[in-house]
Subunit: 403 residues, 4 copies
């Protein structure tokens, strides 16, 4: 081999776990601009889900403890108003854990985009990683290359920004106090965690009581679940506090534009380098991160594309005005009807693309959803003889048999 | 040249104009499966907009007359329940009219996604076509390859389907009777037109009174404004009446996923061939058309990507629950803030991509919008020295000077 | 339609035909930098080939008359040492002639890369154009999107450059005086043609006697048969004489990297605009044109790739040292063996890619050839059950039945 | 993290090093079809090259010992006549050695495509790997995503095939006995190595004396240096002996189509799975491996493309007949002239594409070479103001200062 002499591996920062957003969480490590470093990440649930054939762990998952984030990492010289440039250089599973999972959560514990429509019961598919590819014993007949990325990455909010979040989300919750699933999640000291031993108990308490939940993406990034934030991409984050305090987690081996019930969740390692653009928030009019995509991305040029409009024709037939969410759901349900069994789990995991086609043709928003044909071992193109619908197998279900 | 001997050009069907959807509009021509044919299309307004430097024509456009569609074309052998396969073989402007336009419509006459936010006044950009490229004297510094496609294409509804449309849209209008712009458009005999001389006046009257407006896309296709329905693509339409009765119009030289104020509208010629899959609606679970994209599509791999979440932070800061429309608007407004002047018109015309990133992370939907860097003559990438914002020039505005 | 008022179509320059390269051929038209203009082109043979089912016209083609070029076009302000930038804005067949052909030429009249190996007899496939696609009644089961381009485009040589060409090619001919096919083509007054009536007969005679044949590509561009010089591309040509004197012809509807027996030859129209970079030859170290590819190009991501090395294992088994031509031939013959009948014509016409893999691993050059799977109506991927080889039909052959 | 319970990492087979091809080298491991396994590979020289700033190690490299291959791996059930399908699931550097090198070899020790033209002296560039990207302190201003692949992979030859190789290469050497660099490499017991302790010394001696050198690619695959054989690709190898006996080595972090002086060489780990197609050699007419490319490949759509023809205009100006090697060299030299200093090393390492444009236009073969613009930190597009040529820095050179 090229000699090991002078080989200097990139340092690995063992994670400082936390599961709330708060400006007072101290950085567990500090890096210099330009430095390449690695961060280990547990899966988003903190190892609550196992590589097995029952979905009881998904059914009973404790969501007060999520998401398990690694960080914060302070970057020397970053100040409020700056732009923190983050290079996502690599994202890989742990070598000893070449597997991940896609879960469907219970209506009353985790939900998901179609939780109400489907009255969701826990289910799960385990995916095995073979180099760049994933396959699942629970969804046979499918193999695809991962577009690995962090589902969740962001800088720490300032106290003011945190207050804004809590206020506006609180107002939404107040409007819909009994919604199932909830319309938003208020700060909750139960389950809150900051894994830094020396932390002043009062600060720890404050973080637990005020810290924003990690469920949604917000102005700082956060849980955006954007598949294109993949390894090789470059992101520009607004900086709200000194040091920027970057945290990351919720690694995905793969995910499409359709994360209605989660991606292929995994534990693993992410490699970063950073730089700072002084005054970048103003320079780039940054209300939220912007990013440049990676030059590597799976290329599946043959696709079947489904449409949806803002009429709930899979439900009660009601007409909505320019509602992209309704349109998106119909496109997804059209794809599920076409592909049938297990498609719900598959579409969450595979490199699907969902485009907002048009929000101009009142009253119907139009959203499309493109399913690559190359990920299937059989032909899914529409044919005169009809499409031979496949049984994509049996996902892992609740051990009480309820489906 | 290769000798003209034995050269048989494809037949051109001169358009039969109509501007409502109704099962009783008779086909103006009938084609056989497999036949290649061309259809001439006027622009969607029916030549109300001129190649000049004032937007008064946009301000005063008569929208009771839109969209001007060419058709219907009956396909021999097509019956209700079948799937009509349509190959979109080519889409070109008329050789004698190498230009198109993008319009911003008045809040009270046409509106658009941001009509209320911007209190829209009429404006317009003229685009000149140079082979595969478009440039605009009103938006200097930009050139891009068109992804030409029909904004509007669909089969005729059955009487039952038409009744469903009118009922559900009527219900929405009844809920919001005074909305500006209107939430939907009821059938309107004013401006209704079917260009077939021999038509029984009673039938003509029925069509005018009952015919669905062409503004939104619906289950039959219609005004979907999907940029990927471009030349080279193959579409699978549900057939609702004998002959299928395909109509097409609203040709676009180019459009992104963002058609919030229209594409590059043009007049031109579309080339089709068709085939029929018997019983295709059931075979493919067709609630709405599906399609296969074209193997040719502009390839602009370098992009700047903007995010938006379902918080109206460009407006009153309110939090919405999983509202992709709000998220999409924020992503668009982030891009407009980054690019500044004229970006509104540009983003409607250029090959932008808008993805629904995630509708799972409650309460925030996340939508992204990717702007290709290769369409600009200057560098729009974020740089440490800041992005040199360009003045993209002066679009054509109202002659009364109101902007 | 958008009104015709103010519509100004691009001017079409009717071709000035010539079939030799010489500095003294006067421009038949002069354009200004920035002007968009169209040029009509006959096919390369000058209409010697017909749309029919016999290949006698290919057998008997008069090659002293080729290539039929349109031009020269002088560009105002271009001077020796400059770089002429040519935008290839569009390339289309004549609307009335939606067809082209691929020919295999006789060993003794036209030859081709495998003329000796196959002892070539005339054969031909006619291709019908359906919008962006080509199909052939002579090669059933195949359809692909064209990458239309000029096979031949270049500036006029100076007297000095012309002398260099004639000298170096003359030397090669002198070394191999009796080669079949010939190793190169000397100037030949027989068949020489310049279609400009007022030309001084002495000049005409000089051009006929000295003019370089158009068969090979040279430093000025010429017959390079580069598929990527397609519509939408931008080319940078060295200028050798005042006005640059650009000529163009040999339009191809499609061609792969494998033009061993011609592309899909057609007659049609090319749209250009030009600009000048003063002193560009020195600025860019231009020994030969450089170019930027088009943003539109057919995207067939699934491919079967064949290799070849510089051992003539399809012939006498001899070992060559780093000979990319031998390697390329083996790759092509491997593909032909895999695909079988008619593959020779198909591979010339379809969007094949051929890469030089490596010229470093002595003695074997390695060349690859990628055949897109998406152009076939049947599955050509290697499968455990074997590949079902197809009969790609019967090309048009000599009327004397000799094959 | 997802729990480690039930996590089963893929097994890693520690390499069995050998550096000759011979049917009698025993497999050091046997795998079952379908099994996923990893193989560790030293760099091709066997750790002769260091991460430092002198090229003396390249100058003095002992090439009798190359290439260091890992294997052979026997696959259960593979028999002569079968096709061995190999999935290249991943290729990564060792985590502790995130670097590689590109070397220019001495004319008299290693050579390279331009060894004679440039009278090559040893030089070297070290590349640092940052996740998917490589940068070099010796070639500043450049960063690109790797297309990692094995430069060398193949099945073992049968005794008959080995004899054929030795005979035909011996004939070439006999024709050019004193060539510098040599035209081919005969078996050479000096430096031959098989790292299996229990091997019968007579067999070991036979292998050393008869074993084919690993320099060139041949019918079994071997040192093809095909960049598209990258992770995610699937290869179909002919099987010549029982077990197939697959060996692999010479890992590249990146390489273009231009490996005239080596790729980015590295040590690392390759992940495989295999399957067998019985009788595949006949089914697929396999004269040499075929393969399917990976769905992931860097996408750099903006390129500057150079041409070359078979006239040695960078040398003595001589005209060659259809010689793709000469044309390829001119294209490369045109690119080097355009990019200037250090381009030779850069072009070997970066994801360049080289296409054989045409081998039909006698006497000039035409080859193109496409350099992606996105790998440079500065703009390399041709501009009216000229291209600002960059100094790409100082590669590592001989410590005696000879350049």
């Amino acid at each position: 081999m090229a000699t090991q002499a002078n080989s200097v591996p990139h340092p690995t920062l063992i994670q400082g776990i936390h599961n709330r957003w708060h400006p007072d969480i101290p950085p567990f490590a500090t890096v210099k601009p330009g430095e390449v470093f690695k961060i280990e990440c547990v899966d988003w649930t903190g190892a609550q889900i196992g590589n097995n054939d029952t979905s009881d762990d998904v059914k009973n998952v404790d969501l007060t403890k999520v998401h398990n984030l690694s960080g914060p990492i302070a970057v020397e010289g970053a100040e409020p108003g700056d732009c923190l440039v983050v290079e996502i250089l690599d994202v890989t599973p742990f070598e000893k854990m070449p597997w991940g999972y896609t879960g469907i959560f219970e209506l009353n514990n985790g939900g998901g985009l179609f939780a109400r429509e489907f009255d969701s019961k826990a289910a799960k598919a385990i995916w095995d990683f073979h180099g760049i590819y994933a396959t699942s014993r629970h969804i046979p007949g499918v193999r695809f290359a991962g577009v690995s990325h962090p589902g969740l990455i962001g800088t720490a909010p300032s106290a003011e920004l945190l207050a804004t979040w809590n206020k506006r989300e609180g107002a939404l919750i107040a409007e819909h106090p009994n919604a199932v699933p909830p319309v938003a999640f208020a700060p909750n000291a139960v389950g809150a965690y900051v894994g830094q031993d020396g932390l002043d108990p009062k600060v720890r308490q404050k973080i637990a009581e005020e810290g924003a939940r990690t469920i949604p993406g917000r102005e700082h990034g956060g849980n955006c679940d954007i598949k294109n934030l993949s390894r090789g991409s470059r992101c520009y984050f607004p900086v709200f506090i000194k040091g920027a305090n970057l945290s990351v987690g919720d690694l995905h081996f793969s995910q499409g534009d359709l994360s209605f019930c989660g991606a292929i969740e995994m534990a693993g390692i992410i490699t970063f380098s950073t730089s700072i653009i002084k005054g970048g928030i103003e320079k780039f009019a940054l209300k939220q991160p912007i990013f440049l995509p990676s030059p590597i991305d799976p290329l599946y040029s043959s696709k079947v594309i489904f449409e949806g409009i803002s009429v709930d024709y899979h439900g009660d037939g009601k007409q909505y005005n320019m509602d992209a969410t309704v349109a998106y759901k119909q496109a997804a349900l059209n794809a599920i009807a076409y592909l049938m069994k297990q498609a719900y789990l598959l579409l969450s995991a595979a490199p699907i693309e969902s485009h907002v086609g048009a929000l101009v043709d009142s009253p119907n928003a139009c959203v499309t959803l493109a399913v690559p044909t190359g990920i299937f071992s059989h032909d899914i193109l529409p044919k005169p003889e009809g499409f031979t619908k496949q049984d994509f197998g049996q996902c892992a279900i609740r051990s009480d048999g309820i489906v």
